[in-house]
Structures are given as structure tokens and as C-alpha cells.
């Protein structure tokens, strides 16, 4: 009060009381839209790049399979051969079919034939492992697959 009376030139301070509210709204927005990774990766997962991609829209219609070399901590135990990771544990190729069917059984009836298998495979893995997985998927008649990649110009695997 005093200052205002004293100098007409000085402008009243802008109230910043609403600023925390705005920031909190932003915070809640980000908290809700972002997805926190639910699975811990046990294998290296450096996906290849491609640019003719389509989005994998709905998370609930996707079953994920990870393949890659075991990460540094596990490499001592498992060696450096590529391994398959299903739902937080390292699995054998024979377990792919039962795992996928079990995941499928948990989905609601209406979307069961829309389910896509997302293959998240490290770019240094050999194609042989991938075709084994595809063969397992064919056996259980799950035919929609998605080679999940990073978007970008495909850099050929010149190592």
C-alpha cells in the first residue's frame, strides 16, 4: 500500500498465486499421457530402423516378444547368444507358443482376432531365431505380426 501511494510509476506486482496450479495441471497431463515401461528388459534391444512404418495403435491388442543378447549383468550367466524374453523372464523357443496362447486367453473375446504380435528384436540378432519364432506363431495360428522398429532412415547393418 505504502509503495503504491508513494510512487505512481511503480506497477502492481503480477500475482503468481495461480502459477503452481497451471504447472500442476501440466504435470498431471504428462503423468497421465506418458506410459511408464512396465517390463524390465533383460536383453539388449537396439531395434533396427525403417521409415515405411505404421503405428501400433492400441496397447491392449499387442503381445510383445523381445529378442536380443542378454544384458551385461546376465551375460555372465547366460552367455552372449541371443535369448527370447517373454514377460520379464528369459524363455526357450518352445515356450513362445504357450505364452502367446496364454496371453491371448486373457484378452476379451471381442478383440482376440485383432491381436498383433509385436516382435521387438535387436538388429544384431540372426534371422534364424526370428524365423523360428514366426514358425511357432504359425503353429498357434497367430498370424498378425509387427516388426517393431525405430522410425528413421534404414541404416544397413554394416557393423
Amino acid at each position: 500500500m505504502k509503495s503504491i501511494r508513494n510512487s505512481k510509476k511503480a506497477q502492481p506486482a503480477i500475482s503468481t498465486a495461480a502459477l503452481p496450479d497451471i504447472v500442476f495441471i501440466l504435470l498431471f497431463f504428462f503423468m497421465t499421457v506418458t506410459t511408464i515401461k512396465s517390463e524390465t528388459l533383460l536383453v539388449d534391444n537396439n531395434l533396427p530402423q525403417a521409415n515405411q512404418v505404421k503405428k501400433l495403435e492400441k496397447k491392449d491388442r499387442v503381445i510383445e516378444i523381445y529378442v536380443g543378447r542378454p544384458n551385461q549383468d546376465l551375460a555372465k550367466v547366460l552367455g552372449s547368444e541371443p535369448r527370447i524374453q517373454l514377460n520379464n523372464k528369459i524363455a526357450h523357443i518352445n515356450e513362445v507358443g504357450p505364452y502367446v496362447l496364454q496371453e491371448l486367453a486373457q484378452k476379451p473375446d471381442a478383440i482376440r482376432n485383432l491381436v498383433t504380435v509385436s516382435l521387438k528384436i535387436d538388429k544384431e540378432v540372426n534371422v534364424g531365431v526370428v524365423s523360428d519364432i514366426k514358425e511357432e506363431l504359425r503353429k498357434v495360428n497367430l498370424l498378425k505380426v509387427n516388426y517393431t522398429v525405430f522410425q528413421g532412415n534404414s541404416q544397413v547393418g554394416k557393423l
Binding site: F24, T34, K37, K54, L56, N126, L143, S154
Partner: protein, 207 residues
């Protein structure tokens, strides 16, 4: 005296700072991750062997264990694959007047490439030792070839890109009628250039 009567106000000035810190923390740690990738449909386990295809309608690709790409009978660089695949698909080898003539093809009509995009098959064999990165790059180049041809035809027929049509089909903001119309257009284009990608051994018909 004056000061005692008023309730001391809690200083809320630093609240904004705290909230900002939280906000920045979430911005940094969280990634808005929508997965993208190449969609493929695996062939079902069937007992009936596929019908034999004319050799000229097969585009043979193979990847050896050193990640080298072989097209038909020679080594090819990955950058050239898209053009080669497009030339093969868009060839339109059947002459005018024949029932299999491809009216919309703009290719050279070479006797070594496909009769008609509807009949053309791309056969892709990959060595088990080849790297998955290279495998995906080849798949990407083939998808690019199909997309470019499909875009060309949908531009001609409907004045829009095939890729955009597909994208707007999957986003839900349109009425049922519009969606059905779009679906028909997409199917028309897909029938013009059906994606026939075989990873099994493709047997050719002996002439």
C-alpha cells in the same frame, strides 16, 4: 500490534518451483512411446501347396550370411532395391488386347519381368545367419516400393495418397459411411497392387 492481528500468510512462491521440478523430472524420465513397425501377415499352416507361378512373375531376392543382397542372379545394393522392385511390379508385360493386360502399369513391358502386378510374387529368402537389421531394411525397401506404386494409383483415381488413406482409416474420427467408402477405395488400390511376399521356397512352373 498491527502485525499480530493479521494471519501470517504462507509463502506459496516456492510452490511453483517444486511443481516445476516434478514436471521436469517427468518430462525427462517418461517417454511418450508409441511403437511403430512394419505389419506383416504370416502364411497360415496349410497342407495344400501353393500353385506354381511362372518364373517371370517371381522376383527372387536372397540375403546371404554376410548380409549381401542377391536379386535374381546378381548382387545389388540396398539403395537400388526399391527401384528394381518397382520396375518388376509395374512392368505390365502382357500386351494390349490380352485379358491379363495391365491398363494402369507404366513399366517397360520387359519380357523378363512380371505380366501383371496382380500376378507378381516377390520371393525373399534369407540365410539364418543374416542379421535382422538387414532383413528389416529389405522389408522396408519392399514396402516402400509397394507404397509408392499404390500412392501413384490412388493419386490418379482419388487424388490422395494411399498411405494417408490408410492412416485416416485407422484414426476413428469419421462417420460409418465415410469409413465404408474409404475402405472400398483402399481395397481397390490393394487389389491393383496386392502385396505377395513369400518367404518360403517358391516353385516355378516350367514352361
Amino acid at each position: 500490534m498491527n502485525r499480530n492481528r493479521e494471519n501470517p500468510e504462507v509463502n506459496a512462491g516456492s510452490m511453483a518451483d517444486i511443481a516445476f521440478l516434478l514436471l521436469i523430472f517427468f518430462l525427462v524420465t517418461a517417454t511418450i512411446q508409441t511403437d511403430v513397425g512394419l505389419d506383416r501377415k504370416l502364411p497360415p499352416k496349410e497342407t495344400i501347396p501353393p500353385p506354381p507361378v511362372n518364373e517371370r512373375n517371381i522376383f527372387r531376392l536372397s540375403l546371404n550370411k554376410n548380409d549381401e543382397l542377391f536379386v535374381e542372379d546378381g548382387i545389388m545394393e540396398l539403395e537400388d532395391l526399391k527401384i528394381a522392385a518397382m520396375a518388376f511390379l509395374d512392368n505390365g508385360g502382357v500386351p494390349k488386347g490380352n485379358e491379363n493386360h495391365c491398363g494402369y502399369c507404366k513399366g517397360t513391358g520387359s519380357p523378363d519381368a512380371s505380366d501383371n502386378p496382380v500376378k507378381a510374387v516377390i520371393s525373399f529368402n534369407s540365410d539364418r545367419e543374416a542379421s535382422y537389421g538387414m532383413y528389416v531394411s529389405v522389408q522396408d525397401a519392399l514396402t516402400a516400393a509397394y507404397n509408392e506404386l499404390r500412392n501413384r494409383e490412388s493419386q490418379r483415381l482419388y487424388g490422395k495418397n494411399y498411405v494417408d488413406m490408410e492412416e485416416s482409416y485407422y484414426s476413428d474420427d469419421m462417420s460409418h459411411e465415410e469409413k465404408m467408402a474409404l475402405q472400398r477405395e483402399i481395397e481397390t488400390i490393394r487389389d491393383m497392387f496386392p502385396m505377395k511376399l513369400s518367404e518360403a521356397e517358391t516353385i516355378s512352373k516350367l514352361n
